[in-house]
Amino acid sequence: MELRRHPSILAGGDWKSTGFLGVLVLVAVIVPLLNRAVPSTSSLHLSAYALTLVGKYMCYAMLALAIDLIWGYCGILSLGHAVFFSLGGYAMGMYLMRQIGTRGVYGDPVLPDFMVFLNWKSLPWFWYGFDHFGFALAMTVLAPAALALVFGWFAFRSRVTGVYFSIITQALSYALMLAFFRNDMGFGGNNGFTDFKEILGFDLHSDSTRVGLLVATAFALAATYIACRAIVSSRAGRVMRAIRDGESRTRFLGYPVESFKLGVFVFSAAIAGVAGALYVPQVGIINPSEFAPINSIESVIWVAVGGRGTLYGAAVGAVVVNYAKTYLTGALPEVWLYALGALFVFVTLFLPRGIVGLLPMKDKHR
């Protein structure tokens, strides 16, 4: 009968998912070991820099999953996902700023340095609560989700689709970037937040905290993957693909297409927010340039390069492209943007199913 109807991700329903989750477990075990257990004199030792890099790539992979969920499966090309990533990052950054306390340059117990510098006397209302980790964590999900809800509600209800939707998401990115650049927004202006000291009482500069963050990121990425896989394997996932392939036909079948799009868009934005929240303590800074339209476009390229509509492909693409970026911007900085463009053209022309399209198609139907 229809065994595929109840796909069990963990029971090895499909080998690519099992493989992907297996690799994540390996990363979460081996990378910390290489850093903590291997002496720093050994050539196998992994530096704190490399550790952070792996953590960063996994945050990007989460962002790529978020994009693949809506683009690869539901056909909505958002060129504004860096916005949700940044909002999650800012929410986490606000918590980290409050943790600095009297250790800031001005030593004010409540106000972050930039507020003292601006001669502000008290904390703005929207900073209340961010000294609590739980509240900040909730905000890393709720803030991007709320923006996606409002933005998506207007866009989808007006049946803004295709390239028009992509363009207004770019406009959204640009508008928010400009807004966050302003000092009186209360988010640190163009400097953003940095000089973080600790998270939940752990020193952010110690290797053991970095290892903890890396493991947490691997866990979050795995959980995101399982959640996304569950969605795309459900009947709702099949409706999403139906919307992608024939929106008005799906509407005629009686599905409320707009609410599907909105639901998936909001969920996707929430994932991007969590990815941003995990990113900020690892890289140690968040500023308005994270909102830049080019960041959103780059993350869509990761998904295209890895292979859209597969989930694991998006994650692979994020890691491969970012590894290339790390390498090239170090070795030949002026070449990077050309290389990115060339890669995108190459993949579009010769690998329409992305890097993972080279894998054998075991399941006759993806």
Binding site: E2, D245, G246, F252, L253, Y255, V264
Partner: protein, 247 residues
């Protein structure tokens, strides 16, 4: 005695920038009837379907589904939910989904995001899909994606998708266009087997096909009904001969 109809279209007018696609059109459909609508290009056949399914709103007139439902007040998904299924001219099955999945998505029932997220196929639904696969004769193709089906198979799958929704009224737009003679014959049998349990309205150009299935034919011309009756009556109507058969 006035018998209960399933569809009441009365005095419908649709104008696009002064051009009247429908002009004071009045049409009734009986429960369980198989009705063919014919007419030259631009007669308003497709516009009429669009009004019934909520895609186009008329400038004036009324459209009722049974005695209870005012179609002009319902949205497209609401009309589909209420029991009117439409098969489009071009087969529009979901090419990336399998035959089985195409039918699964067409199941009647709750269709909200959350419900479908948690939906599991019940034995009754499984049975329903198997039944429909049987009716449309695609049992062997159940796990093939829509993209590999032949033209005729796509049309049948689409009719199957309509049947999954257990519609009271089926609107079928040019079902045999582009079909081989064997496929056409198979389609005629299929549509005839559906009438009785469902009301079926077929829009078609192929006169031989219409003659082979129709009990009652309505002829549209310039947005109006110009003749109605069995095939012989209609073919002998002088106005029909004039506008449709070009005499």
């Amino acid at each position: 005695m006035i018998s209960e109809k399933i569809l009441y279209l009365e005095n419908l007018t649709v104008s696009f920038d002064g051009f009247k696609a429908l002009d004071d059109l009045t049409l009734y459909v009986d429960p369980g009837e198989l009705r063919c609508i014919i007419g030259p290009n631009g007669a308003g056949k497709t516009t009429m379907m669009d009004v019934i399914t909520g895609k186009t709103r008329p400038t004036s007139g009324t459209a009722w589904f049974g005695r209870e439902l005012d179609l002009l007040k319902l949205s497209e998904p609401e009309i589909a939910q209420a029991g009117i299924g439409r098969k489009f001219q071009k087969p529009t099955v979901f090419e990336q989904l399998t035959v089985f999945e195409n039918l699964e998505l067409s199941l009647a029932g709750k269709k909200s995001f959350i419900r479908t997220l948690l939906a599991r196929l019940s034995p009754a639904q499984q049975k329903k899909i198997d039944e429909v696969l049987d009716i449309i004769g695609l049992g062997n193709e159940r796990n093939k994606p829509g993209s590999v089906l032949s033209h005729g198979q796509k049309q049948w799958l689409e009719i199957g998708m309509l049947l999954m929704q257990e519609p009271e009224l089926l609107l079928v737009d040019e079902p045999v266009a582009g079909m081989t003679p064997q496929e056409t014959e198979r389609t005629a049998q299929l549509l005839q087997s559906l009438a009785g349990d469902h009301s079926v309205v077929v829009v078609e150009h192929d006169m031989d096909f219409v003659r082979s299935i129709a009990r009652k034919v309505t002829v549209l011309h310039e947005g109006r009904v110009i003749a109605e009756g069995d095939m012989d009556q209609v073919q002998n109507d002088p106005r029909v001969r004039e506008v449709y058969l070009g005499e």
